[in-house]
C-alpha cells in the first residue's frame, strides 16, 4: 500500500464521518411538508399563472394566488375564492365583490420574513379589481402567446376577437383590449361578461389563468418576474426559494386573512421536490419525503402488502382518461368496423388488474365519469364500449370477407406512444391481444414527447390521454372533437356529433345533458369509431401520517393551507 492510497482512504473516512455528524444535526421547529406528488423529474414548468399548463405548476400557483372562485377539491364545485358573486338574470354578467383586506406580499431573503409590498407612496398594496382585470387580460393576450389562452378566450366577451388579433396594429389592439368583458367598476368590484350563459362559467373563473397579477413587477422585470427575488403574490403561501431543477419552497403568508374554505395555513413550509416516483418512494421510506406519487406497476404490490407502508397509501378517482386514437384515413381504419374490432379486443380489465394496478377503471366512455353531465356506463350500458373479443373477432372476419383482405395484410401497422415504461407495457399487452384475436401483428414504436406530439396525427394508431381543465363533459367531448373548437389531431368530423355538443352546452338539465353526451359518445366510439377508450385513471399517493388532510382531492391538485400537522 502506498502512502497515496492511505491518504485517499483516510479522506473517504473523514468525508463519511462528516456525513454522520451533519446528518444528525440540523433540526429546527419549522413544520415542513416535503411534496413530490404531481411533480416528477425536471424543473417546475412555469410559475406564471398566465403561462402555466401543467399540474405541477398549477399545484404551486394555487397556493401563491387565489382566483375569484375556488374549485372545491372534494366536491368539485366552484366556491367563493377571492370574491363572492352575483349573476344577471340572463346568465351573462357576473359581478364580483372582491375581498378588500388581502395585501400583496413578497419573501425577503435577508430577514427571512414574508413582508407586505408597498407602493411608491409607502402604502401597502392591496389586491384590487384592477389587478384581476390586468391578470385576465394578460392571459388572453396574443402577444404573450400562452397555451391556455385558447381555452379561456371563448368564455369572455370579446376574448376570442382579442386572442385572434396577433397581427393587429396598436390602435386596433387597444380597442379590442378595451372591448373585453372584464371591467373593474370599483376598487374591489369586477364585472365579467360572458357570451355563453352556461353552468360551466364559474368553473372557468376558478382557473389559474384568471388570478390577479402584479402589473408593476411584470413591467419592471419582464419574463423574470416569477423568479423568487422578484415575484409578488397574495395567496396563503408565498414563494421562498426556487432552486431550478431541484425544488421550490413555499412559506406561509402571515398576511393572508383566511376564510372558511381558504384558512390561514398551519404548516410553515411546503417544499416541492422534482424527482422520479421511484426515487420519491425511496425518500418516503427513508423519511425524507411526506407526500408522494406511487410508481406505476410492481411497487404498488409491495406497498400494499407492507403493513407499515400500506397505511399511508390512498387511491381515488382520477381526472384523466387513457385511450387509443385510430387514423380513419389509413386502411383498415377507414372502415369503422375495423376500429370496432380493434377496440372490442383491447383487454381493458386485464390491463388495469395486472399492469397498471392502481385501481384504474376500464373505460366504457371517453369521458371520465366523475364530472358534470358525464354519461354513466350503468345508465347507458348499450351505448358504452365493452371488451368482447369474440364479437371483435366476428366483426373483423366480416370486414375481411367483405373487403377481400387477409389479416396478415395489416401486419406492420404502427402503434405510436411517447416513451414511458407504462405506455410500453400496455401497448405490448394490446399488441398480443390483437395478434391472438385478430391475427394482426402491429408494430410498436415510441418517440420522445416532442416528436410524438408533432407526428402522432399521421400514425395509424397512437395512444393519448386527456385530463380535465374544468369539470364538465364539454371539456372532454367538445374541446377535443368539435369540428370548430375541438383540438385533437384526429382528422375526423361529424355534423350530428357537433349538433349534440352544441345542444348540450346550452342545455341546463344535467340529466338531459348526460343523455345528449351519451349519444355523442356512441358516435365517437362506435358508429364512426375513431377512438378506443381504455381506462379512467386513478390518483394514488402516499402521505406521511404526520400530516392530516381534509380528504383526498378529486381534482388532482391540493390546497395545502387546509392541511394540518397531526397532534
Amino acid at each position: 500500500m502506498s502512502k497515496f492510497t492511505r491518504l485517499i482512504g483516510l479522506g473517504l473516512i473523514v468525508i463519511l464521518a462528516l456525513g454522520f455528524v451533519s446528518g444528525v444535526g440540523a433540526q429546527d421547529d419549522v413544520t415542513r411538508l416535503v411534496v413530490g406528488h404531481n411533480q416528477g423529474v425536471g424543473d417546475l414548468s412555469n410559475l406564471d399563472p398566465s403561462l402555466a399548463d401543467g399540474v405541477d405548476a398549477v399545484d404551486v400557483i394555487d397556493e401563491a394566488f387565489v382566483a375569484l372562485a375556488r374549485m372545491n377539491e372534494l366536491e368539485v364545485i366552484p366556491e367563493p375564492g377571492m370574491a363572492t358573486w352575483t349573476v344577471s338574470d340572463d346568465g351573462t354578467v357576473y359581478t364580483f365583490d372582491i375581498r378588500d383586506d388581502v395585501p400583496w406580499v413578497r419573501y425577503n431573503a435577508d430577514t427571512g420574513e414574508v413582508e407586505q409590498v408597498l407602493d411608491e407612496d409607502g402604502n401597502v398594496r392591496m389586491v384590487t379589481a384592477a389587478d384581476f382585470e390586468f391578470g385576465i387580460k394578460r392571459s388572453l393576450d396574443p402577444q404573450l402567446a400562452a397555451t391556455y389562452s385558447g381555452i379561456l378566450a371563448p368564455w369572455f366577451s370579446g376574448g376570442l376577437e382579442f386572442f385572434q388579433s396577433g397581427d393587429a396594429d396598436e390602435a386596433t389592439r387597444q380597442e379590442l383590449l378595451d372591448n373585453i368583458g372584464v371591467v373593474a367598476t370599483g376598487e374591489f368590484t369586477l364585472e365579467l361578461t360572458t357570451p355563453n350563459a352556461s353552468s360551466v362559467v364559474p368553473s372557468i373563473f376558478s382557473m389559474w389563468g384568471t388570478v390577479a397579477q402584479p402589473s408593476w413587477v411584470i413591467e419592471e422585470f419582464g419574463d423574470f418576474w416569477v423568479e423568487p427575488e422578484n415575484i409578488n403574490t397574495y395567496g396563503p403561501y408565498a414563494v421562498k426559494e426556487w432552486v431550478h431543477d431541484e425544488s421550490i419552497t413555499l412559506i406561509a403568508n402571515p398576511f393572508w386573512p383566511g376564510q372558511d374554505n381558504i384558512p390561514q395555513p398551519s404548516i410553515d413550509e411546503i417544499v416541492f421536490q422534482f424527482l422520479d416516483p421511484t426515487v420519491q418512494l425511496a425518500n418516503f421510506e427513508a423519511g425524507s419525503m411526506d407526500y408522494i406519487d406511487v410508481p406505476a406497476g410492481a411497487d404498488v404490490d409491495r406497498v400494499l402488502a407492507d403493513p407499515n407502508l400500506s397505511q399511508f397509501y390512498t387511491t381515488s378517482e382520477g381526472v384523466c382518461n387513457y385511450y387509443y386514437a385510430f387514423n380513419d384515413t389509413i386502411p383498415p381504419f377507414d372502415d369503422p368496423r375495423a376500429v370496432r374490432a380493434f377496440s372490442l379486443t383491447i383487454p381493458r380489465e386485464a390491463i388495469v388488474e395486472n399492469v397498471t394496478k392502481a385501481g384504474e377503471v376500464p373505460a366504457g366512455f371517453f369521458t371520465i365519469p366523475s364530472i358534470v353531465a358525464a354519461p354513466q356506463v350503468e345508465d347507458f350500458p348499450d351505448l358504452a364500449i365493452h371488451t368482447d373479443p369474440e364479437l371483435g373477432a366476428q366483426i373483423w372476419q366480416e370486414y375481411l370477407a367483405d373487403t377481400g383482405h387477409e389479416a396478415s395484410d395489416f401486419n406492420g401497422l404502427t402503434l405510436l406512444f411517447n416513451t414511458s415504461e407504462r405506455h410500453s407495457a400496455i401497448a405490448q399487452v394490446i399488441q398480443q391481444a390483437w395478434l391472438e384475436n385478430l391475427g394482426v401483428e402491429v408494430q410498436l414504436t415510441n418517440q420522445d414527447f416532442g416528436t410524438y406530439l408533432q407526428v402522432r396525427g399521421e400514425f395509424p394508431i397512437y395512444r393519448a390521454g386527456w385530463c380535465f381543465d374544468y369539470p364538465d363533459t364539454n371539456n372532454f367531448l367538445g374541446d377535443n372533437f368539435h369540428s370548430v373548437f375541438g383540438g385533437t389531431d384526429i382528422p375526423w368530423e361529424n355534423a350530428d356529433f357537433d349538433a349534440l355538443i352544441e345542444q348540450a352546452l346550452i342545455e341546463t338539465d344535467p340529466a338531459v345533458r348526460a343523455e345528449l353526451y351519451a349519444q355523442a359518445e356512441r358516435i365517437l366510439i362506435w358508429d364512426d369509431a375513431t377512438v378506443a377508450p381504455i381506462y379512467w385513471t386513478t390518483s394514488d399517493s402516499m402521505l406521511n401520517d404526520r400530516f392530516v388532510r381534509p380528504g383526498v382531492s378529486r381534482i388532482e391538485r391540493d390546497y395545502f393551507e387546509k392541511w394540518t400537522v397531526a397532534s
Binding site: T278, L281, A282, P295, G297, A298, D299, D301, R302, L304, A305, D306, P307, I330, P347, A350, E353, N354, V355, G412, T414, T419, S420, E421, S424, A425, A427, Q428, V429, Q431, Q432, Q443, L444, T445, N446, Q447, D448, G450, T451, Q454, V455, E458, F459, P460
Partner: protein, 346 residues
C-alpha cells in the same frame, strides 16, 4: 548511392526475417494467451454466449414474447431465498410464487430466462457491429493519415477532432425521431423508406449501430495513425519503398500486420463500452422496439422496480456483467500476448 544499393539486399533479408518472426510472433502470442487462464475463461464465456444467441430458440424454455398476465412478476421460490427482501404472498408479502419460471417472470408475465437468452442476440450484435464498424472505418483512416503524413495527416486528424466534439447523442436522438416518424403512413420513399424498413426489421437496432459507428471509430483511427507513424520510418519500410513497392502493398503487407496487435486489443477492450451504450439508450427510451428483448432494456425496466423485484434487474445485469467481464479479460490477455511493449516482461 553505392551504400544504398549495398544496403538493399541486407534489408530484404531483414524483411524475410521480420515476416518469419511475425509468424512466430503470432504463435508466441497464442502460446502466451493459452497460458492465461482468465483470458481463456473470457473466450469460453464469449463462445458460450454466441452459441446461446445462435441457438436461442432451442435453448429458451419459453416463447420470449408469450405473456401470462396473471403471473405478472411471478418469482420462483429459490430466488426469494437469495433476495430476503422479497416476501411471498402466502407469507403476507407481495410476491406471487411460481416455479414455472427459472429466474422469474417480468411485469407482463414473460419468462425472464428466455428473454435473457434472446436478449444476448442484441448485445452481441451491438458488440460485434460496434467493433467491426470501428475497425473498418478507423483502421483505413488511421493508416492513410499516418502513412501519407504532412498536410493530409493534419487535415484528417483535425476532422477526427471535429468528430470528437460532435454531439453524437444528439445526432442519434434526431436520427431516430426523423426516421421512425417518417415511416408514417407508408408514404416514405427512397432511402428514408429503406432505412425505416431496416429499422423496423431489426427491431429498432439500426440507429444504435449508426450511433456507435459514428462515435467509435475515432479512437481506433488515432491509435492506428500513431502506430503507422512509428512504423513508417522503420528500415524495412524504407527498403521496400526504395525497391519500388507500391503504396497500397506497403500499407497492406508491411505496415498493417505489424500494428494489428494493439488494434485488436483496443477493439476488444472497447466492446463493453458499446454494450453499455445500448443500456444507456434503453434508459432514455431509445433502445430496441418492444417486445424485442435486450439486456439494456430489461435492466432499465427492471431498475424501475428494483426495490420490489430485484431479480428482474439483477439477472440481466449479471448476464451483462459476465459478457463484459469476458471481453475485458480476453482483451487484457490479448494485450499481454500481443502488445510488443509488453513482450519480455515475463
Amino acid at each position: 548511392m553505392a551504400t544504398t544499393t549495398q544496403q538493399a539486399p541486407t534489408n530484404v533479408v531483414q524483411i524475410h526475417k521480420a515476416q518469419s518472426k511475425g509468424e512466430s510472433l503470432w504463435y508466441d502470442a497464442w502460446k502466451r494467451l493459452r497460458r492465461n487462464r482468465f483470458a481463456l475463461i473470457g473466450a469460453v464465456i464469449i463462445l458460450l454466449n454466441v452459441i446461446m444467441a445462435v441457438f436461442a430458440p432451442q435453448i429458451a424454455p419459453q416463447d420470449f414474447r408469450k405473456q401470462d398476465l396473471l403471473l405478472n412478476n411471478a418469482t420462483p421460490r429459490w430466488v426469494l431465498n437469495i433476495f430476503p427482501s422479497m416476501v411471498a404472498s402466502d407469507e403476507g408479502g407481495y410476491v406471487t410464487v411460481s416455479n414455472k419460471f427459472i429466474l422469474g417472470a417480468d411485469n407482463l408475465g414473460r419468462d425472464l430466462f428466455s428473454r435473457i437468452v434472446y436478449g444476448s442476440r442484441v448485445s452481441l450484435l451491438v458488440a460485434f457491429v460496434g467493433a467491426t464498424v470501428s475497425v473498418l472505418i478507423g483502421v483505413p483512416f488511421g493508416l492513410l493519415s499516418g502513412y501519407l503524413g504532412g498536410r493530409v495527416d493534419n487535415g484528417m486528424m483535425r476532422f477526427v477532432d471535429l468528430m470528437y466534439a460532435f454531439p453524437a447523442l444528439l445526432f442519434i436522438i434526431l436520427l431516430m425521431s426523423f426516421f421512425r416518424a417518417s415511416f408514417v403512413g407508408q408514404n416514405a420513399t427512397g432511402i428514408t423508406k429503406t432505412l425505416s424498413d431496416i429499422d423496423a426489421a431489426s427491431g429498432g437496432m439500426i440507429f444504435i449501430f449508426i450511433g456507435i459507428g459514428l462515435t467509435s471509430w475515432m479512437r481506433i483511427a488515432r491509435l492506428t495513425r500513431g502506430q503507422t507513424l512509428a512504423t513508417r520510418e522503420a528500415e524495412y519500410i524504407t527498403a521496400a519503398r526504395s525497391m519500388g513497392t507500391t503504396t497500397p502493398t506497403i500499407i497492406y503487407q508491411h505496415i498493417l500486420p505489424n500494428i494489428l496487435g494493439p488494434i485488436i486489443v483496443t477493439a476488444t477492450l472497447t466492446i463493453p463500452v458499446y454494450i453499455s451504450f445500448e443500456a444507456f439508450l434503453s434508459f432514455i427510451g431509445l433502445g430496441v422496439n418492444p417486445p424485442t428483448p435486450s439486456w439494456g432494456a430489461m435492466i432499465s425496466e427492471g431498475a424501475a422496480n428494483i426495490r420490489s423485484f430485484p431479480n428482474q434487474a439483477v439477472f440481466p445485469a449479471l448476464a451483462l456483467f459476465l459478457v463484459m467481464f469476458a471481453f475485458n479479460f480476453l482483451g487484457d490477455g490479448l494485450r499481454d500476448a500481443l502488445d510488443p511493449r509488453m513482450r519480455g516482461v515475463d
